[in-house]
């Protein structure tokens, strides 16, 4: 049955609720395994083989291999769990967050230093803030692609 989800009208935001948690269970458990150095080494040595040891969907595995965190989140990943992948790659939270917005690390960092992403236009789906679906991807990479 559908749970009440008042948070679904927030743009660019996925709440890790019951449905997401069910969907992403094995993906997140895989991420959790990366807390051990030995597992990180095994994952790095052969990512595909390591992923195949987990009952994840093919979409989840592809999303991990592509390091596409938005796809990981769409298939049930939670950012705190996914951060273990970033940690294994030697990436910071900021680099990971940047990767989800289509911004370069520098662009993202500059946005943060100048006060962060504005709430204006980003409260509800349908407004015109930079996190809205029609304005993705953001940043220079996005503009080049959008020409």
């Amino acid at each position: 049955m559908a749970l009440e989800k008042p948070y679904q009208d927030i743009p660019g935001t996925t709440i890790f609720d019951a449905e997401q948690s069910r969907l992403g269970y094995h993906l997140n458990q895989f991420c959790m395994s990366l807390m051990q150095a030995a597992n990180r080494a095994r994952f790095k040595a052969d990512e595909r083989a390591y992923l195949d040891q987990w009952p994840m969907t093919e979409e989840q595995k592809q999303a991990v291999l592509a390091r596409d965190l938005n796809r990981c989140i769409a298939s049930g990943g939670n950012i705190y769990f996914l951060a273990k992948i970033g940690a294994t790659d030697g990436k910071s939270f900021q680099q990971m967050a940047g990767s989800m917005t289509g911004m370069s690390e520098e662009e993202y960092r500059d946005m943060m230093i100048s006060g962060g992403r504005s709430i204006e236009g980003n409260r509800r789906v349908g407004e015109d803030g930079d996190a809205q679906a029609h304005r993705q991807p953001q940043g220079r990479a996005g503009h080049r692609g959008g020409g």
Binding site: M1, A2, L3, A18, E19, S21, R22, Y25
Partner: protein, 279 residues
């Protein structure tokens, strides 16, 4: 919306597993216990429950003392039984009911119960044997299940009043579940018994019978007792009656007795069986 068809409280003792495995149900020792069940089987057959919410306590199979939840709710597609170390046969897995699990979890947190959500959960004899007693020799179990664990092992335990309110919240959650399912609530454990110390073997028949009676007519009666009171009156493991009380709470409103049985002893335990339905 889902319908609660009634509630059943029943004792769980590992030893029962051995009696079933050895087919000694009709031996003089076991007969007075097993003979309590046929009327409940008949009632269950009429009720046609699809789902069972099973309220019980874990005995060191799924939870260890490193992390001991007061209230835990299972949200797994299937629940495995496993070796508990005391040599009773392991039973086949039980089907879960994920939609109800998550609906319960959402509703209970909304109602300010600070539960633990478990997407993997081993179920021990306190879950498996009551289902085996209620649906003998039916594998897989004909009802989908949601396990709900209450800490009755490591003090501090939740108070009786809290358990009753927890049960009521479970009842409201089931009734607000958008499903045509028919749900039976099962509470396991008790009644009076004490496994350890110089007072091992303690039984309090008078209290047990009073409790069974009051559970129908005046369930809040038992909430006058603190947890240490209940230990004193029913034994250190007798506090498992909290599972019964929670089950009674889930049957919102007035209830009538469908069938009851009480027999001492099964192993070290005063065994009770009480089926109830709303009036």
């Amino acid at each position: 919306m889902a319908k609660i068809v009634g509630g059943i409280n029943v004792t769980h003792v590992p030893y029962i597993g051995r009696a079933i495995a050895n087919k000694t149900q009709q031996d003089p020792y076991w007969k007075p216990f097993f003979d309590g069940f046929p009327p409940v089987h008949d009632w269950l057959a009429k009720q046609k429950a699809d789902v069972a919410v099973v309220i019980y306590n874990d005995h060191g199979l799924n939870f260890f003392l490193d992390q001991m939840p007061t209230f835990a709710v299972g949200a797994a597609p299937e629940y495995q039984n496993a070796d508990e170390g005391w040599g009773i046969p392991t039973l086949p897995p039980y089907p879960g009911e994920l939609d109800l699990s998550w609906h319960l979890i959402e509703s209970l947190v909304e109602e300010e119960f600070d539960i633990v959500t478990c997407q993997e959960m081993l179920v021990d004899h306190a879950f498996t044997l009551p289902l085996e007693l209620l649906w003998p020799n039916q594998h897989p179990c004909p009802v989908r299940t949601v396990p709900v664990c209450i800490n009755t092992v490591q003090f501090p335990l939740p108070t009786a009043a809290r358990c009753f309110k927890f049960g009521q919240a479970i009842g409201r959650a089931i009734e607000s579940w958008d499903s045509a399912a028919r749900v039976v609530v099962i509470g396991t454990g008790g009644l009076s018994h004490q496994l350890e110390g110089q007072r091992a073997g303690f039984i309090n028949k008078e209290f047990d019978l009073m409790f069974m009676d009051k559970l129908i007519t005046d369930p809040l009666w038992v909430t006058r007792y603190s947890i240490p009171d209940l230990v004193e009156l029913t034994g250190t493991q007798g506090v498992e009656l909290l599972n019964w009380l929670t089950t009674r709470g889930a049957l919102l409103g007035e209830v009538a007795k469908v069938h009851a049985n009480y027999h001492v002893p099964i192993s070290n335990t005063a065994s009770g069986l009480l089926a109830m339905e709303n009036v």
